[in-house]
Amino acid sequence: MWLTLARVLAREAQYRARRRYGRRAYRLARSMLLSNLLSILMFTAISLGLSSAVAAVPAEARVEASIWVLGVLGVFEMFIGGFTMASTLQVLLADRLLDFITPLPVRESDVRKALLALVVIWGGVAMLFLVVPGAALAGYLAGSIGVFAGGVAEAAFCLLMAAGLGYLAGSVSPKATRRPLIRAASTLVWLLVFFSGFMFNFVSRLAERLELEPLGPLLQLTPPFCIVAAGASGGYAALSSACWMLASLLVFKAGARRFWRAVAAGEALLAAEAKVSGWRLWRGLLPASLRKDLTLLSRTPRVLASTIGYMAFPALYIMMSLTEAGAASRFMAAILFFFGGLTGLSAQYLYSLEGEGAKLLYHLPVRRGGLAFRKACTTMLLLAPLSLMVLAAIGYFSGAAAGLLAFLSYMLSSSSSALLTSYLAAREMPDEPTAWTPQTISAATRVVVMIGMLVLYGGLAAALAAIGFFISWLAASATAALAGLLLLAVGVKAIKGLSSPL
């Protein structure tokens, strides 16, 4: 019974999660093995690829290198596992998928078992393959069976921890829309997810600069690195590992219990927790349609984090370039123009943000052009603080006139990019509301739009950089601003031409 239940729930939750988040779709095969096969193959390749780096290290340092590599893989396993679990489990709660089971004569223990089985069905088994094949290879290269055994134990307990964290996050996430604190925490987590690669790179660079070799013994005590270390050499690492394993068990148990409580309480819990406060209609200078987008954005941590990431990354890069290369670099105009173009791409997120509410737009007197323009305006509004940061930074380094020109160049290129992206997204919206999902604008279309924008803004930026060789950077900035203005005009004209209704 519980296995059938698990399968049914997994299929339904996965289907809905895919519609909602657009997670890469893979066919739901009939057996657990098949449904995990693709992930197993992918993770095995990653695991073996990374672990093969151990071969490049001198024989005497291979055990230490294995601890490092397998530890990193363990962290990945925890991260990906927890993230996958949380996003799919929250669908179970938010969509009340268990409600149909409640009136059936199904034992609570069966439902609990089914929920646990979901861990396996949702690729839990596949997660193990991020570490285990690597552990086998690293153990072979290091000539240590302890490395292999430690790796296997690490994989198992990282999975347990990931499942526990996934259960906890999944049970809390439906509240993320309502409670500002959970919303903020959730946004932070999503930002960590998106910036993990960037941060990893940053930490490695920092570690290189600070010469962190003396921290090697400390690393051997840090979970999950300590488990492989314990397998290889025992000692204090074994004690640390025991603590980590116990913590994993406790987190898993607490997570499962918390999730079960949330499932059992269901709608009643949500209704009881919803605080009734006073209400008032939106007033003020900011148009309601823009305010709607901003409100939806603030209540959707994942999209908010994506948008912040998209917008902040180029701005951060510009700041770093300013401090390293100097504001008066002859290529600064081109760099600003290019990154401005990239930030405008975030306009596409405002379409996913509509969610199921987009179907309401189809009943209203809304034209695609008007929608595209409003979305672009919201993007510009969001970009304004970043543009001001750029203005302030460049103004600080090389004077007000330069700052103003740079600001104009950045603002115009980002605004034009927002308009063009929004135009393309509005065109992509389906003709009938039933065809709408937050993933209507497919990943393929997004990639095409991104490549198109990269080519357009990158090409123009390259031309501007070439001009920078012959004229002063101030003149180059003015040229960039002019180019941005021209693109802005193109964007406005395109949107005006988009008169067809939704």
Partner: protein
């Protein structure tokens, strides 16, 4: 329905004419909607759009989904001034017909006219004229009803103070006060329906199209909705709603249209239809018009036979 103004006047017990504003004909306590002939031309300009002016018209409309004809050559006129109920079994084409009015579904052939506007060509203009509430309520789950209404106010260009007045009125009527600060995703089914209905009414449309509006409503709210529909019809607006609850249709609607397999199986006033089909009540009318009575009888027999 009276064919001429003089006939209408004969039938009416009271007539009040507010020059340039509105004409009210009162017959047995009920407002009449009239299509006047040439003799009423001198005042038709004044009353245009208020009585008998609004019209939702389907002319030989067909819509197919693959091999299935959801709507098959339907010609129908829904006039302002009285409540019209659209009845029919599941899949008979009611919702499709309603969606055509706002241009969400475009007919394969035939024409739909919303007060002279073809929604297939200019859906935005049609949607300005229509207040539509779909069968499956669609709302922004992460917004509160107050926020949704604010957004709709801007879309329909309702001035701020007027929007505030209307929202407060409907919130009071539908007892939505305690729900206004909650997120739409947290509302019960009935309250979501109410929010959807208020959304359709906010811009005081000339044509009201409600798909299964009573689903999930508590008796009090259902009563309020009935009165609202009657009042809007009394003001000369087109009120079209679909339902499976035949008692409701009989209680509210002055005219019923019964759809079956994408076609209009019967239409008229409930009393006329009863007489015409020699039926005892609207349920009987429905069964006879759709040809389901024999089938139903056999089903019931087999049920008890078991």
């Amino acid at each position: 329905m009276p064919a001429t103004l003089s006939e209408a006047l004969k039938k009416s017990s009271t007539v009040s004419i507010h020059v340039g504003l509105q004409v009210e004909l009162n017959c047995c306590g009920q407002g009449l909607a009239c299509s006047f002939s040439s003799e009423a031309l001198f005042i038709s300009a004044a009353i245009s759009g208020l009585i008998g002016g609004c019209m939702l018209k389907y002319i030989d409309v067909t819509k197919r989904y693959g091999d299935v004809a959801a709507v098959n050559g339907v010609s129908l006129e829904v006039e302002g001034g009285r409540v019209t109920a659209l009845l029919g079994p599941n899949g008979s084409g009611k919702s499709t017909l309603m969606k055509m009015a706002i241009g969400v579904v475009k007919p394969d052939s035939g024409i739909v006219e919303v007060d002279g506007v073809n929604p297939a060509e200019d859906p935005c203009e049609a949607r300005r004229l229509i207040g539509y509430s779909p069968e499956d309520v669609v709302l922004y789950e992460s917004l509160t009803p107050a926020e949704v209404f604010s957004f709709l106010g801007e879309v329909y260009e309702v001035p701020g103070s007027e929007l505030e007045r209307r929202v407060r009125r409907y919130v009071r009527l539908f007892k939505l006060g305690e729900e206004m600060g909650k997120l739409c995703g947290e509302l019960s089914r009935g309250n979501r329906r109410k929010v959807s209905l208020v959304s359709a009414l906010l811009h005081e449309p000339r044509i009201l199209v409600l798909d299964e509006p009573f689903t999930g409503l508590d008796p009090k709210s259902a009563r309020v909705l009935k009165e609202l529909m009657r009042k809007m019809a009394y003001e000369g607006r087109v009120v079209l709603f679909s339902t499976h609850i035949l008692e409701l249709a009989e209680a509210v609607a002055e005219r019923v249209v019964i759809m079956h397999r994408g076609k209009v199986a019967a239409e008229g006033e409930p009393s006329e239809l009863r007489e015409e089909l020699k039926a005892s009540d609207l349920e009987d009318v429905f069964m006879r018009a759709t040809g389901l009575s024999e089938e139903l009888e056999e089903l019931v027999k087999s049920l008890w036979g078991e």
